[in-house]
């Protein structure tokens, strides 16, 4: 099917998210949609998939103007979108998630649907078991579930928003293979929203570039990375590496001795690790390899199962998040709107909330909070106004706000996926803020699925694979592809040592 959008406008509060956008997406093609954070990519895709309605403009499908509201209507017209955070219901099985959105008779024909899941997944090379609970699936599997579900609903145009964040390179290869087959053999239109230029270069036939809500470029592939960067930012970016610093001499902030973490699905082998002031340790690993529970246990959000955990010499094992926080630990979670920010609150309210009260009766000084917000907006380059609701901001701007809400002088920063889904410029801005804190003596523990990011910013890398760990002492001697092998379990491919007692 061919989709044509004409003069789409959309505005959120003070932000013009889409400004007179007109494009044609022909059938059977894979189109990359590029743009830095807040450029309006997600908004445009949400309009196409019915999650939002445009303020102005028309959508023509196969030569016919269509005016639809809601994702159900879009799916009926053949347009389905895979959200950045899959929209499934965690406490239900794969089967149930598959079923609830399916049209049809009141009585659910279970055996028929079961077959449909299995045959559709088999056809495109996915491995989904209908009886698994969704909260036990990895992000990649949840994506697969969504894709299978949309395909079974007869979708002819598939929109994917940042599908490669949080999945391994093998899973990515498989996803891309599937997408190419769907486009080449089934004639489906695939729209890929991504910040990762490599992904777009590997996969797409064509790219369009948005900047500040406007369509600024359209290119047939192949084209070079630097040309795409040029289109996105109007300038070339150079890669930077961190300065070498001597951190071994500084004080130990976090000392782990035979520290273990257990979840229902996984137990992480004992870890012994000293984290010094100013040190940045990256946690690498596939989704679900143990790094998430490990990070939560280092912040008191989860209880460590055994061993010792000392913060500045004080034994903290078994204490709660509140005490960790008072000891100077700050945590930034990967799911921004689930853990970290509060939908329905304005930016200023977030700032007011995170600041210590200086009034004896706890009366809030909105004027001061507003001024503070202005400072942060300019310092962290947040695009939005203080009185905007947090959910009106783009993902990148939400992340910048989240970073700006972290304490100024923490002892230990634990951050999941600090730059997930962000463009190069924002990544650098955020790391600038994080590194500034580390230079003031904060120790940083971060996880990332971006191997470049891990190699670039880590002083040491702790690789997780199925609960086993391996410490890379000198990432500068490690290439991205070695690291890629290591997170797949081939610890021999990188120098370093098993972190074991």
């Amino acid at each position: 099917m061919q989709i044509e959008i004409r003069h789409i406008h959309k505005r959120f509060g003070s932000i013009q998210a889409n400004d007179d956008i007109s494009i044609v997406f022909p059938a059977g093609r894979i189109v990359g949609i590029l743009g830095e954070n807040g450029a309006g990519k997600s908004t445009l895709m949400k309009i196409l998939s019915g999650f939002q309605t445009p303020d102005e403009g028309e959508i023509w499908i196969d030569g016919q103007a269509e005016n639809y509201r809601g994702p159900q209507a879009a799916i009926a017209l053949g347009i389905g979108m895979l959200q950045q955070d899959p929209l499934d219901v965690p406490a239900m099985t794969v089967m149930d998630n598959f079923t609830y959105g399916a049209p049809g008779a009141f009585w659910l024909g279970h055996s028929h649907l079961r077959e449909q899941i299995q045959s559709t997944s088999a056809k495109i090379g996915f491995d989904l078991s209908p009886d698994q609970m969704v909260n036990q699936l990895s992000i990649a599997q949840r994506q697969q579930l969504e894709i299978v579900r949309l395909l079974a609903l007869g979708v002819r145009t598939l929109i994917l928003d940042e599908p490669t964040t949080g999945i391994s390179s093998d899973q990515k290869e498989q996803l891309f293979h599937t997408l190419m087959e769907l486009a080449r053999e089934e004639g489906m239109t695939i729209l890929l929203v991504s910040h990762k230029l490599e992904d777009v270069i590997t996969l797409c036939d064509e790219v369009i570039v948005l900047r500040a809500g406007k369509l600024v470029g359209q290119r047939e592939m192949p084209t070079t990375k630097s040309e795409l960067v040029h289109l996105m930012f109007g300038q070339q970016l150079t890669e930077e590496r961190r300065n070498e610093r001597d951190i071994a001499q500084s004080n130990i902030v976090l000392q782990l001795d035979d520290f273990t973490v257990e979840t229902q699905r996984l137990s992480v082998e004992p870890i012994t690790l000293s984290l010094h002031e100013g040190e940045v340790v990256g946690l690498a690993g596939l989704d679900g390899s143990g790094q998430q529970p490990f990070m939560r246990a280092c912040t008191g959000l989860m209880k460590g199962a055994g061993g010792r955990l000392r913060l500045d010499g004080e034994d903290m094992l078994g204490r709660g998040y509140g005490e960790f926080r008072r000891a100077g630990v700050a945590f930034g979670a990967a799911g921004r709107l689930e853990e970290g920010l509060i939908a329905g609150l304005t930016l200023i309210e977030h700032v007011a909330l995170s600041q210590a009260s200086d009034h004896w009766m706890g009366v809030l000084d909105w004027q001061k909070a507003g001024a503070e917000m202005q400072t942060r907006i300019s310092r962290y380059d947040i695009r939005g106004a203080g009185e905007d609701m947090i959910e009106a901001l783009s993902g990148g701007n939400q992340q910048r706000l989240l970073i700006s809400l972290l304490p100024e002088q923490p002892r230990l920063l634990v951050i999941e996926q600090p730059t997930r889904g962000l463009d190069v410029d924002s990544v650098r801005a955020i790391w600038g803020q994080l590194l500034a804190r580390s230079e003031q003596g904060a120790a940083i523990l971060f996880s990332s699925s971006d191997l470049d990011e891990l190699v670039t910013y880590s002083d040491r890398i702790l690789v997780f694979f199925e609960g086993r760990t391996h410490l890379i002492e000198d990432p500068s001697q490690t290439t991205v592809s070695d690291l890629g092998h290591a997170i797949g379990g081939a610890f021999d491919s990188v120098q370093g040592e098993h972190v074991r007692a």
Binding site: Y321, H350, L353, M361
Partner: protein, 359 residues
Amino acid sequence: MNHTPRSLGLRLVFLVLPLLVALFVSAVILLLLNQEPGEVLRQAWRGAFGNERRIASVLNYWIPLSFAAMGLVITFRAGLWNIGIEGQMIMGAVFATYIPLYVPLPPILTISLSLVLAATGGAIWAVLVGVLRNRFGVHEIFGGVALNAIAAGISLYLVRGPWALVGNNNQTPVFPRETWLPTISDRFGVSQLMLILLVIAVLSIIFLMGRSRWGLQLKATGRNRQSALLLGVSVRSVSLSAFILCGALAGIGGAHRVLHTYHYLLPNVAGGIGFLGLLVVMLSGFHAAIVPLVAYFMAALSAGSTRFQTLLRLDPSLIDVLQGILVLTYVLFSGIQDRFFPRIREGNEEMKKEITTNE
């Protein structure tokens, strides 16, 4: 500024329109019952506003209802369903009963101590709900329902047992005359003390919600507990404090029932006022400032209905039907409003003003 918050006009339309629709539907039902809707309305109006005495009886219903509803504003803001409010009112009434019955003290001391005890009783009952939730993971709705039943049981036991009036097992003895709350006048039997306390409560809650750090923490906890926790809000103590305050206000509402309305304790002393409070807060759209108005309307409806039976030979439970219709139309219209007039932003008008002037 391109923000278009819902205009005051629109909000007023959506306050009045459902009321008219509800009146219309009610009129149809009355016609089906062979009643003259105009006459029923006139009787209801006279029942509520006919003379000083009737206005006073509306106010005497409105005061405890407003105390309960203002308390519920707090728990709703924290995202908590304090169904236990009814039990908290009962416990307030029970705690307020002891001193007037058994401890001879100067009236001023009796009244003030009774109010303090009532607030404590309500707060204890609410804390139980909070602790059940925080420590044992019992949802506040289940905890609340259970504690309501227990509170009703306790009041029944006291009324029938240790505190029973000889020869009547449905009430305690009547309190000594001097422990009754003083009223504005004999004809206008409304307690000025309770009115003042209510005004103070309403104003402080509006202020706390909009201007205090605690109010913001409540809102954050209500919207997203996990995020609030990560942003440094101690969500457990914030929810517990919401329960405590709500319970204390409900307890004072309960005290009004025994110290003023009845002057004795009886088994069903809260009389569903706590539950009605839940409706009032929902109808007010959870806005603290609107709550007293809606509560007044509900109180007038309830007072007006007492005349239905005597004058029109209508079953007084008809008023529940009419209140139900009102609730349904408001829910319906708030759905319509969200659908066709989506809110761009809501929040603190005061704050917005200040920010705009900053720029």
